[in-house]
Symmetry: C5
């Protein structure tokens, strides 16, 4: 999983029916060097600027009430920035 910050929302009117009802969020990875944002579905109600924990891949289906073509989902809101001192 990765920790990321909610940056904005993606609006898509024409999409698969099974994506209806999911908020689609642009997430910026929190871990320093990687600036490649991605899109994750959210059902928890994460707000802009919040730090979230995101799960990827087949694990996502275990967070959905029914299967959908979603490959990234917010699985938690992070209470506070983890204290990380990585080697440089």
């Amino acid at each position: 999983m990765v920790i990321g910050k909610v940056v904005s929302r993606v609006i898509s009117t024409r999409k698969y029916d099974t994506l209806q009802g999911y908020k689609l969020l642009v997430i910026e990875p929190f871990n320093g060097e990687n600036k490649e944002w991605f899109v994750a579905a959210d059902t928890i109600g994460a707000g802009e600027g919040e730090l979230v924990l995101v799960s990827f891949g087949s694990a996502v289906q275990h967070a959905l009430p029914q299967h959908a073509p979603i490959d990234a989902i917010v699985v938690g809101i992070v209470d506070q920035e983890p204290n990380i001192q990585i080697k440089e």
Copy 2:
């Protein structure tokens, strides 16, 4: 998921039967630094230049009427460029 722009189409005459009927699109990632385009199947009817939302991996199968060896699919057309201000 990632947001990308439809760049062109891939024509493949000799291919697996289960790929018949899918448009195969070259997608350029929209998120800045990554210029590694990839190929995704499309059933929504995305046109060149449009911004699309693409799902990868096992989630793709949940968008197909029957299983096929496809690992990336367009799951939505994005209404407008997301407003993204990433840290530099």
Copy 3:
């Protein structure tokens, strides 16, 4: 999926039984910057120098007559180089 060029063949005498009968090809990604070649199974009969479409991950199993520990497979021969003009 990615488009790649068939570069050479991998010979492996000692291998899993379920890999018997698959040609194993070294594939060089076609999309510019990425020079990290990989190995994909082939049942279509792709020849050296040909451009092929390769699928990865769990989708591969949907191209096999029976399950095997293969994570990349040639799913089509590309008719001609896609016309790609990526932002620089």
Copy 4:
């Protein structure tokens, strides 16, 4: 799998029910150049500073008593730093 060092813990109060009971650890990859830390679940009881072996993707589910949206898990504690001399 990758070997990583446990750096800290992630606290998330609002999260999926199926994540309850898992320790969520920030893991720093041990293999040199990659500084992109990630989050993995732990049920073994890995402590800060310990070297652990982490598995990703669908394999994670085979380590869980019931399915959960977890895509990385500590599957072992590494006894000592592997002796690695990689080409430069």
Copy 5:
């Protein structure tokens, strides 16, 4: 799949029961630029210095007698270095 060279062995005393009996190998990717080694399980009996073919992800399970949280496995020993001339 990727081709890699067996560099050393990983010893882990505390680990999931379902990992018992697998040799855990440090593998260095053979394809030039990528120096990020990883860990793969082995049941074929690959020795240090040998070139091996490694499969990742859900495909791994199809090489195991029973499910286990393993995401990379040696599926073959490569007879000789593939003859690769990649564009520079």
